[in-house]
Amino acid sequence: MSPTNPMNRRKDRIDDLAATSGGTATLVREAGTVDEKPGVSLIASAWKRLRRNPVFLIGAGITLLFVVLALVSRVIAPHDPAVGYLIDQVRPQSNPVPGPQPGFPLGADDAGRDLLSRLIVGSQQTLIVGVFATLFGLAGGMVLGILAGAFGGWVDALVMRIVDVLLSIPSLLLAFSIAALAARPSQLTVIIAVAAVQVPIFARLLRGSMLAQRHSDHVLAARALGVTERAVVFRHMLPNALGPVIVQSTLVLATSIIDAAALSFLGLGNPNDRQPEWGQMLGKAQTYIYDYPHLAVYPALCIIVVALGFTLMGESLREALDPKSRR
């Protein structure tokens, strides 16, 4: 399969992304000889370009703000997000959602809990869902991708057939099906469902860029010097193949938060809402959405801003690491 072929079927698109890392090594070397500055690493040159890219700076700024908010949320939240302070005002028939009032600037939800505090503390669980879904997906994909990419041959064929079958189901539908398997849905089952969808994508991506490394000169040189097979895979192939995977991870942070919201919307999310999470708040707000749309709009805006931040960061990273865009 030629990497120059502009195919964009799902799996080939993933392979195309992977192929970009194969080219970077030679490109950096060429750049080094032209500039007479040997030793400019890929990361250093990418960072130099990113530093001046406003898209990256906005994305990274949003992400940084989000992470800091999640870390200090417990301290700065005015109230406990799990306590129904305004439960006395909740009337299921006439007034299910208490409005804004002194001390509660955004009002409360249908259990009398302070909405502002729930939004602030919600950043924590949202970050956890995003990060762990990405890490689990990455871990699963790494195992399969390294197996296939390092050994090639029949191992590669077997692993890739499994991956192709998983890729042949629309990804959100696969997440719904896996979430439906949980006897007792919880935050963990949501994370697993969202992560499982990413496994085949990561696997294919890593396998592609590992294969590109397999045939490169530095791996051949390492083999010729008698470096053990394990060291070749983990010290010479894997680190050089990680570029596209890191880019994909930033993008998956965004999709996993959005997918988790979709699971909540279908009633497949975490039913325990003592620990608020934005996707869960958005999914559950559908009950009152026409009478009290603000219950949905606030968490939705938070999700959109954060997802946009991750996406901007990921896209500018991809551009910086892509040898094509450096011409």
Binding site: M1, N5, P6, M7, N8, R9, R10, R161, I162, D164, V165, S168, I169, P170, S171, L172, L173, F176, S177, A180, L181, A182, A183, A254, I258, A261, A262, F265, L266, G267, L268, G279, L282, Q286, I289, Y290, P293, A296, A300, I303, I304, A307, L308, T311, L312, E315, R327
Partner: protein
């Protein structure tokens, strides 16, 4: 060409076979299992044992899989327990398929008609304010949860302003059914008000469903046109003094649209997942709606037929895209 198609068909049969295996084990590992799903948690051990025997669940696993496979091939998936209790699951699927096809078709049409020209203009004027604005719109389009956008449209345009109907596929004005494609039915029977009503119901759900395909197709078109514009043959054509229209049509667009075609095919398959969310918001009564309800009420027979059908449709679309691609681009056939 024939060999290429046969090889792809064989691959497809393999994928569907493995999918059926996955689905079989998925169904067996669902919480509570089939017996509890039918009888509920409080059944006596005797009735449970009787049903286990009646369903053949005490037989060896390969016998069970063989029965599952033959049953699935004959289209017998059992009776719905939650979506429309008592109705055959396969009938539910066939009844609702036209609604989702109508919706997906319109959504894809909106996405393609907007995305390709905008993507082209964006690439021609790269880094202009128009280009930057469109790129931002496409990025936001992917970041907005589909069901939230659907709610927003419905709230603003149906609930607040009453410009579009709130839910359903058609007003109840006594229309004749022929094919269950409501817009087409109205045209066939010359009940044009029926077609108009069906179209009005389609507008908001299809716009909501179109956002993600629009964003994806727009960005692929933009990137692809940018790539082609940098190619040597375009510079050659320009320096030969060919007129701009020929360069645009024959050299740029024709080559740039190759990856766009495959992306459109891919998005068609992915529409079904989006339809689950959109149809649920607008209570549209298609496959997506049925899937959402089936997930909520754990209606296993309906889930079985819908998931297998969804995957099969996805695989078939992929195959058609591959064939289309091989027709357009001869290099693919030799792989």
């Amino acid at each position: 060409m024939a060999r290429f198609i046969i090889r792809r068909l064989l691959q497809m049969v393999g994928v569907v076979f493995v999918l059926s295996l996955l689905l079989f084990f998925w169904l067996r590992s669902l919480p509570g299992g089939t017996v509890s799903a039918i009888l509920g948690e409080r059944a006596t051990p005797e009735t449970r044992a009787a049903l286990t025997k009646a369903l053949g669940l005490d037989e060896p696993i390969w016998v069970q899989y063989w029965k599952f496979l033959t049953r699935a091939l004959r289209g017998e998936f059992g009776v719905s327990t939650g979506v429309l209790p008592g109705t055959d699951a396969m009938t539910i699927f066939l009844d609702r398929l036209p609604a989702t096809i109508e919706l997906s078709f319109l959504a894809l049409l909106i996405a393609v008609v907007l995305a390709i020209p905008l993507g082209y203009v964006s690439a021609r004027r790269a880094n202009s304010p128009l280009d930057s604005g469109l790129v931002v719109v496409s990025l936001v389009g992917v970041a907005v949860p589909v069901f939230f956008l659907a709610f927003l449209l419905k709230y603003q345009l149906s609930v607040e302003h009453n410009w579009f109907p709130v839910s359903g596929r058609q007003d109840n004005i006594g229309c004749t059914r022929v094919t269950n494609f409501f817009v087409l039915d109205g045209l066939l029977t010359r009940e044009f008000d029926c077609s108009a009503s069906a179209l009005k119901h389609l507008v908001l759900p299809s716009v909501a469903l179109a956002t993600i395909p629009f964003a994806v197709i727009y960005r692929i078109t933009r990137a692809s046109v940018l790539d082609v514009l940098g190619e040597d043959y375009v510079r050659t054509a320009e320096s030969k003094g060919l007129n701009a229209r020929v360069i645009r049509g024959r050299h740029v667009l024709r080559n740039a649209l190759l990856p766009v075609v495959t992306t459109i095919g891919l998005q068609t398959g992915g529409l079904l997942a989006g339809a689950v969310l959109t149809e649920q918001v607008f209570n549209f009564g298609g496959i997506g709606n049925a899937l959402a309800v089936a997930f909520q009420r754990r209606d296993y027979p309906v889930l079985e037929v819908l998931i297998l059908a969804a995957a099969a449709i996805y695989v078939i679309i992929n195959l058609l895209v591959d064939i289309a691609y091989a027709v357009i681009d001869p290099r693919v056939r030799t792989r």
